[in-house]
Amino acid sequence: MPRNKPVTSVGDTVFAGVARTAALAIMLALAGVFVFLFIEGFPGLSAPTDVYRPAEDFLSYVGPLVFGTIWAALVALIIAVPFAIGIALFISHYAPARLAVPIAYVIDLLAAVPSVVYGLWGGLALAQALKPVLVWLDTHLGFIPLFVGPASVTGRTMLTAAIVLAIMIVPIVTAISREIFAQTPRLHEEAAMALGATRWEMIRLAVFPYARSGVISAVMLGLGRALGETMAVAMVLSATQVVTLNLISDTNPATIASNIASNYKEASPDRQAVLIATGLVLFAVTFAVNFAARMVIARGERKIAR
């Protein structure tokens, strides 16, 4: 019981009850997601073989999809996070104050551009523009497993999808990171400056340690969006049932979400169950990723506390 507990009244009991109910509702909702997906998806785990075509059973069907989902999100994160942190710093510490607010506003707006529009742009504009880049990567960096090629002639590759995903993640990570950067206690910053630190040293010594866990949770949010992004990937990626690290060829693994969106509208009831089951797997994957990220944050916080 909190020490500073004030006078209690009926209003208090009711209000506390409502607040508690809301917290419980969240729990119920999540349990519901699991239960209902399980009920509808369970038959999909052991459907007749030809439902899984071109794979044979559920595991071989969902395996490449899980790989594709994580791979696309990972590549997107690797591209997006440095940029996002750079822009967040730009807004919070580098840009002239007069520009910072409108710039922040523009970046926020990016988060609101619907994924369908990213899909349109990615499929029609970006894929075209990337074609020469893919060829260049193939010829000059072909010895790296990521770029063995052969370069896709349409530009609809994993790299393209990852770049689109990255652009979708950037505003999310930026928005949270800059808030956190801007909340760094001014005294810390001024103390560092007073000691003669350059701006970068000030950021390294005062801003980053303060913001670390916040930035990680921002990255987590971005990862969540990348893992589950559906339409943009479905409209950009040339996907099939394979596992490959190759980023620039026309043969790419699909992601779970894009696979569901692609195949939902003409799915037979059997296949629909399979798709819902893959949705359950996607849920489990994001759950695992979130769980891992939380562990990382918790460990980081313990270290700081020590």
Binding site: V153, T154, S238, S262, Y264, K265, R271
Partner: protein, 369 residues
């Protein structure tokens, strides 16, 4: 205190705005609905729910638009939920009619179940026939002649360059570059894929070994979402080849496929002709016009690479009004007006007269109990 009063004003303010905004209908719908039964000249009214194959969706839009225009008391919905889900909902009774890309069969007991639901064997009529074009993007080449075997070889990845001997042999005098071939297939399940693979396996002379299916059966290769996605991918690449509904293939090179000794470009007439020479599925009742498309036809001018989408309905309905609505709507669809409307809106091939007549007869038996 000012703050509180602003807050008090904001909430109802938003509510009023929301009401004002949501209170009015679209400008082009203001005289629709049940407002004017008398004007329409028909006695039809009520709601009719159907759904199924997404391939029919554009055509269904045109049919609904025209039919609801004629009969302003009627509201028809068509949910493009997919053929399988459409048949399932038809069997469960949720839909009074359903669209399906593959005719209902007893492979999974569906025909029996549908017969149970209807009380008699269901009526099945072809409603939407669309030629599938094999499209390609090869600078300097506008038209190509290919046979099914070569197309199968290309899509199976056995023929990999455009100057391959198999292609050159069919295209005398065409200057074929040595560009790599990039076949593009659908990444989503679709009736188009099923009909395309059906064509390859039946007419491909053994070059295509997979069973026809909604899902592209091979791993690897370029893929794209939806017809528009395939068209965009083919347009966006060089040396690409793909398959798409003919109506969407604007601006791209189209393959003329070998039929008998001639090479036929995709056309509505050709598709209609190919349907005409196809055999009805055996063992079906009078109202069931399921066809096994003759992919290997040698009929002059026929184009056997086509998609046929059917409509399912019951011969009898419990509710007489339901029966009237289904009968009137389906009669309109198979009429020459309806077929022309779909051709204009979706680029489909109008049913040949003989089949349209047969379909009209089949639909005419629909009645209430």
């Amino acid at each position: 205190m000012i703050r509180t009063s602003i807050r008090r004003a904001v909430v109802p303010g938003i509510a009023v705005i929301a009401l004002a905004v949501t209170g009015c209908g679209a400008s082009n719908e203001s005289d629709g609905g049940s407002a004017s039964d008398g004007d329409s000249g028909t006695s039809l009214s009520g709601e009719l729910a159907g759904g199924g194959a997404s391939s029919q969706d554009s055509a269904q839009q045109a049919w609904r638009a025209a039919f609801q225009g004629e009969n302003s008391g009627v509201t028809i919905t068509y949910d493009p939920v997919g053929s399988g889900a459409g048949r399932e909902s038809f069997i469960s009774g949720a839909y009074l009619f359903a669209g399906t890309d593959s005719y209902i069969s007893d492979d999974e007991g569906e025909l029996t179940k549908a017969t149970d639901t209807c009380g008699a064997e269901p009526i099945e009529v072809p409603a939407y026939v669309s030629p599938i074009a094999v499209i390609f993007n090869l600078p300097g080449v506008d038209s190509l002649n290919l046979d099914a075997k070569t197309i199968a070889g290309i899509f199976a990845g056995k023929i990999t360059t455009w100057d391959d001997a198999a292609i050159a042999a069919l295209n005398d005098g065409v200057d074929l570059p040595s560009t790599k071939i990039a076949p593009v297939h659908r990444s989503d399940d679709s009736g188009t894929t099923k009909n395309f693979t059906d064509y390859l396996s039946k007419a491909g002379d053994g070059a295509w070994t997979d069973d026809p299916s909604d899902t592209w059966p091979l791993k690897g290769g370029e893929s794209a979402e939806g017809t528009s996605g395939v068209v965009a991918a083919v347009k966006g690449g060089e040396g690409t080849i793909g398959y798409a509904d003919d109506s969407q293939a604007g601006g791209l090179g189209k393959v003329s496929i070998k039929v008998g000794e001639a090479f036929n470009a995709p056309s509505a007439d050709g598709a209609a002709k190919a349907l005409e020479v196809s055999k009805p599925v055996e063992g079906r009742g009078e109202g069931d016009m399921a066809f096994d498309i003759d992919r290997t036809t040698t009929e002059e001018g026929a184009y056997p690479l086509l998609l046929t989408s059917y409509l399912l309905a019951c011969p009898t309905y419990d509710d007489a009004n339901d029966a009237e609505l289904v009968k009137a709507f389906l009669t309109y669809i198979v009429s020459s007006d309806g077929q022309q409307a779909a051709a204009d809106a979706a680029g489909s091939a109008p049913l040949p007269d003989s089949i349209a007549q047969q379909a009209t007869d089949a639909v005419s038996v629909i009645a209430g109990k």
